[in-house]
Symmetry: C2
Subunit: 337 residues, 2 copies
């Protein structure tokens, strides 16, 4: 039961040269059916598997890509991206690539990348969500191909897979209006300006379409963390008139909002409806479960790898934006009609 058969062993056993074996393994032309069968028989019997390490050396490639998380982002905020990872993995397997799990950090202006990236021991990188400029330029000097999945920036020189968040926001707010809501609040943050702009524009478009005004007393776009969330929600709840529904830029904001409303004795959706964008794992697990616009993380992952493979193989390729109007109706929105 020796397990370390090499191509030489197979060649010997089949009475051919290793070139022949190699040709057969790689499906090349110019081998007679007879020898092909003979060799394949030996391979079958011995259960021989060529090792990748020789190929890696010969081709100067590692046949791995890394998905690189931002270490400074709390794991909770990354929930959305864990779903993407499964799509990445699936697509990598399709290309016979391995997917390595990795992370970078940027504290102050101190950028840290793992050794396997610095040593160029990966053929390409996938980032999730916008990445800082210093990282982009570092990657350019390293000359390593990368794709940003769920990018929100407006860089046109990068390879990205984006979701259409304007459409997603429009879809969410339009749904609220359909359900009879006329007083619709907004909760968001401006951490990612381009993202904010898209979402706000979708929100605004839906309001305008139905001749609804934008009421600033229910409009909070400077949420930073849990504390500011509480402060702003507190402010909103102290108004004489409350919105009947609140649109949140991201599920995780909505989850915090719901948590806070419940804490204050406000019932969701009886008193206030809540809707958001993303459809992260836990949105279906909280009470009330969250009505939201799903972002197709399967597509996000699949296209990212496709583009990255094109880059690795020096093929022509291009960025993609996926449509995002798939509303997932759950319990957090009440119908007023």
């Amino acid at each position: 039961m020796k397990n370390n058969l090499t191509i030489n062993d197979i060649a010997e056993m089949a009475n051919v040269s290793k070139t022949t074996v190699s040709f057969i393994l790689n499906g090349k032309e110019g081998i007679s059916e007879k020898t092909r069968k003979k060799v394949l028989d030996v391979i079958e019997q011995t259960n021989y598997k060529p090792t990748l390490n020789s190929k890696r050396l010969y081709f100067q490639k590692s046949f791995t890509v890394a998905v690189v998380f931002d270490k400074s982002v709390p794991v909770f905020d990354n929930l959305f991206y864990f779903a993407v990872m499964n799509a990445l993995l699936k697509r990598c397997m399709h290309y016979n690539y391995s997917l390595i799990y990795s992370e970078f950090s940027l504290v102050g202006d101190e950028l840290t990348l793992p050794d396997n990236i610095l040593d160029k021991d990966v053929d390409g990188l996938i980032f999730l969500k916008d990445i800082p400029l210093v990282l982009i330029s570092k990657l350019h000097t390293l000359n390593i191909p990368f794709v940003i999945a769920d990018d929100h920036s407006e860089h046109t020189s990068l390879y990205t897979v984006k979701a259409d968040y304007q459409l997603a926001a429009y879809t969410a707010v339009h749904y609220l209006i359909q359900q009879g809501h006329r007083h619709i609040g907004f909760i968001g943050n401006m951490n990612l300006p381009a993202f904010y702009t898209q979402v706000f524009s979708g929100y605004q478009k839906a309001l305008k379409e139905s001749d609804l005004p934008l009421d600033l007393s229910w409009f909070f776009d400077k949420i930073q963390d849990r504390d500011t969330t509480e402060t702003y929600i507190g402010q909103m709840l102290s108004q004489k008139e409350l919105p009947t529904a609140i649109f949140c830029m991201e599920d995780f904001l909505a989850i915090e909002l719901i948590r806070y409303l419940q804490k204050q004795g406000v019932r969701v959706p009886q008193d206030i409806s809540v809707i958001a964008i993303d459809d992260i794992i836990i949105s279906s697990q909280i009470y009330p479960s969250l009505t939201t616009v799903a972002i197709n993380n399967e597509e996000l992952g699949t296209y990212s790898i496709d583009i990255l493979m094109d880059l690795i193989n020096k093929k022509e390729t291009h960025s993609i934006t996926i449509s995002s109007n798939n509303i997932v109706v759950r319990e957090s929105v009440r119908s007023l009609i």
Copy 2:
């Protein structure tokens, strides 16, 4: 700016042999300070990095380990393990190993493993949670080292890192008793018999210690999925007398329980307190946030890699059980005293 410097280039530039360069790179003895400095200068100037691919071939190792998820387990149930992954990654980097993200599936008796495992393109594997017997024997015939993190089985021949769930359960229930609870329900499942046994024993021990009886009308250990959860909780709520607190085997059961109780208008913790084991990410995000016994996923990950490295390097090693009595007090338990 040619990027593909090899050890030969460095040797040439420093006027030494590549052996010398190799020795210096690997910190071997027997090189004069003078040449060492000379070579290191060249390396510094050129920013030369040896590529791993040659080493991989020479050492017949890939310098990667894979963390292998069970594909059939819903992502939500894996939330606990995503936290472990960060510890795995950190420890892998410490050993200069890459961590590849991977999965297996077992449908019926059809076991599927990814090619990079079958081709032995990883040096070792980490599994999270108990794995099926067919997989264990497959791994043995493949002759690939593996460690099971958070195993609950009683196999003594495997390398595992376990948490002390008996202690965790005892800690949780003891805490409830300390808070004045005398009527404590139990919700769990028997999917993993050994796990169940441990947890039940901890629950029982805490009750017995305070001379509290085990009331079977509040005892449900056959939870399967959401539907059975609802059924059983329904049964429990229809009793004339209710427990003041419920202990759940896992956070995710507790989260479902809370969701269901709220749906029925039962307030947590005013009407019923809830406590569990795990401390998954979302337990702090729901309302009320969940009081639970944390399992130290940092240790779980770190020790798993340590053991795996010992196995890979053919060093003597042994399984570990980590202590687990760290209670995280949040909002879901009410004090009765």
